[in-house]
Amino acid sequence: MSAPFAPAASGPVPRPGDPQITPALVAEHGLTPDEYDRLVAMLGRTPTFTELGVVSALWNEHCSYKHSRPVLRTLPTKAPWVLQGPGENAGVISVGDGLAVAFKIESHNHPSAVEPYQGAATGVGGILRDVFTMGARPIAMLDSLRFGALDSPRVRWLFGGVVKGIGDYGNCVGIPTVAGDVMFDPAYEGNPLVNAMCVGLLHEHELMRAVAQGVGNPILAVGARTGRDGIHGASFASEELSEASEAKRPRVQVGDPFTEKLLLEASLELIHSGHIVAIQDMGAAGLTSSSAEMAARGDVGVVIDTTKVPQRETGMTPYEILLSESQERMLVVAKKGEEHHVVRILEKWDLTAAVIGEVIAEPVYRVTEGERVVAEFPGTKLVTECPVYHPEARESDEIRALRERDVVTIAERAEESDPAWTLRELLSSPTIASKRWIYRQYDHMVRTNTVIGPGGDAAVVRLRGTDRALALKTDCNGRYVYLDPRTGGQAAVVEAARNVACAGGRPRAITNNLNFGSPKRPEVFFQFREAVAGMGEACSALETPVTGGNVSFYNESPISSVYPTPVVGMVGIVESLAHVTRATFRDDGDAIVLLGE
């Protein structure tokens, strides 16, 4: 083991065939000139092509939260029952009896807008992995969807593909999709929102964190082989790259739920085996972000040899291997000398595992291609030195005017004086109508714990072996947030809480998926800041801390700009199965009571 990962004799040198680092190439990687200067200062030299790729992946919005972090810090994250707050693959709360629940929501908006079926399917795959890497067995999925109006054929195609993608993936892995929410509005026409939430169950003592530690511990790539899928969004269609641009174009990721199911079982077996110290999904920015984040959390160095990564295609460069987003892969840190047990467990499940690097004492993040060093960053600065922005925030005058408009002055249509007409109109609008078309395609019963499935308020999932259950729901009315971001942010939390309470549950914590437009537009950043503030206020009032979430900016297209949509995914606890309450009329003669003002 020591030979291949010996200390580097020299620093990184450009590989033959690597393109020249030019301002244009830097721009294509999505780095601003300031960010590039920051990188050069950090390294004390010009980066190699591979290093540029690594940094562009880690410093992009998706991985770095560079525009959102200061605002997110204002959210309440603590409560006695929170075992793991934001910063890990998923948040974890205690639910009593030594049991804990891991849960998180994630968006796959842009992939779903291009290839709805695979985009949605791989979104489900990613969030499942985030949960089972915590040592939790996934027990429920939820999905929060926003689409344009259904009378457009393209929207129907997108919507049908997304629902099928979510269903096929979750059904095959065998995780019930028990609840969700959906809204149709022209604001989402060019940029649908596809958010998926996963909830998993674990024993408190099984909680696993993605923290690399233990000098000499081997690092393994586990699961599917690595191909050229989804090599990052920074477009490489440009001519100056000599290799056929076909091979350079970002390629859509294809999900394989069958492999995911095997990976799920193998990962849980690995975690319970005691042979590993950390595990993390290779999600966005693949090997790069998983390895760099694990190293940063553990404050240790790592070395990785890309030639040792199991590959699906030939001739892949270190750059490609580091940035590939091939699905159904994990990065594992094993205990030194126990790696063969890891390989054996993976083989039992017909999957591969290969040692690709190790944890080192030297405080560097180093990538080699065989003997050659192709990237090397000092310490954990790669993650911690990421730029942070405080964008300007200003409310749009237009929206303020809209809000201040007196709704009573809006003229009624003649038909509206007929309540029967109005009721029919409302009930037949897709946003309000039954969602059966969707959830009939989801196996919402597998694992035989679904006490209340989709079709009511919150879903209720029994905790087998106890008299308790979880109540789960996603919610957000983007139109409210658009008109009044602070109140809208509060309303999203409160709506989810009402649904949870109506099913018999006490709200305990939330995860959130903040879907907004470009943070560089002051009116969008205003919405973001205010909606988060509103959300935080409601969470404090309800004692439902935020244990994690996801930010999705840039949800804009030439056709439309989405309503600001901070989706809330709430977990509540039903203390006794006797408290479970259904949203249906039950018996003749029961009284109907209207509560509230």
Binding site: C172, G174, D256, P257, F258, Y442, H444, M445, V446, T448
Partner: protein
């Protein structure tokens, strides 16, 4: 009585079958690994639902070559009871334990919901605890559940009383929506020619606890206990 529940790569209702047997019936159950050649003394083998091998190529096509299937076929040939549910039914057809095939639902969509079934024959090891013509509620959850066979095979199944469950509406009749996948002759479940192998698309193991919506699957398991245990 001991139930052996086969876990294929991609099975996902093995756990549900296990809990139905152990928690609800109070019997013993053990998971059987697809790579093994050992039924571990099981009296009844359950081929559970799920997506063995991802349902790639055709549902059940690859799983039927698993090593354990040789033992399952031998067990069935000896007259041992086999309960093949959903993906298990697909595997059993592919393995030749049951006639016919299961194809994609006619509307090409996965369907998950409670359905009504009519019990067509109570003289089987799986249905003795039901009443003839009884309408029961059992959930379905499948994308490839459309039962297909040629006319001769269908006539034989009907003639020999081997169609055990048919899709129907709440009143036991048929209407435009009572057949969720357009199975031929509305077939939801059949037994093999010796009567000891039951294949069905609906999930009786999901219908053993009224808390989850229906306990109409319990008599099926109780029938097995009464007849196979006797």
């Amino acid at each position: 009585m001991k139930f052996g529940i086969v876990t294929f790569p991609g099975s996902n209702c093995d756990y549900d079958a296990y809990h139905a047997v152990v928690d609800q019936l109070g019997e013993t159950a053990e998971y059987l690994w697809h790579k093994d050649h050992d039924l571990r003394g099981s009296d009844v083998v359950i081929l559970p639902g799920g997506f063995s091998y991802g349902d790639y190529l055709r549902a059940g096509a690859i799983a039927r070559f698993s090593p354990i299937m040789q033992e399952v076929v031998a067990h069935a040939d000896r007259g041992g009871a086999v309960l093949a549910i959903c993906n298990g039914f697909q595997i059993a057809c592919e393995a030749g334990l049951l006639p016919g095939a299961l194809m994609r639902n006619a509307n090409l969509k996965f369907v998950c919901e409670q359905r009504h079934l009519r019990v067509e024959n109570v003289n089987t090891a799986f249905t003795a605890e039901y009443e003839e013509g009884q309408v029961i509620r059992i959930p379905v959850a499948h994308g490839e559940g459309r039962y297909v066979a040629d006319d001769d095979a269908l006539d034989r199944l009907d003639g020999e009383g081997r169609v055990v469950f048919r899709y129907c509406n709440a009143a036991g009749g048929t209407d435009a929506t009572s057949n969720p996948n357009q199975s031929m002759r509305a077939i939801a479940g059949i037994v093999g020619d010796a009567g000891n192998v039951l294949g069905m698309m609906p999930h009786p193991e999901r219908a053993v606890d009224a808390l989850l919506g229906s306990a109409d699957g319990l008599p099926l398991f109780e029938s097995i206990l009464a007849r196979v245990g006797a």
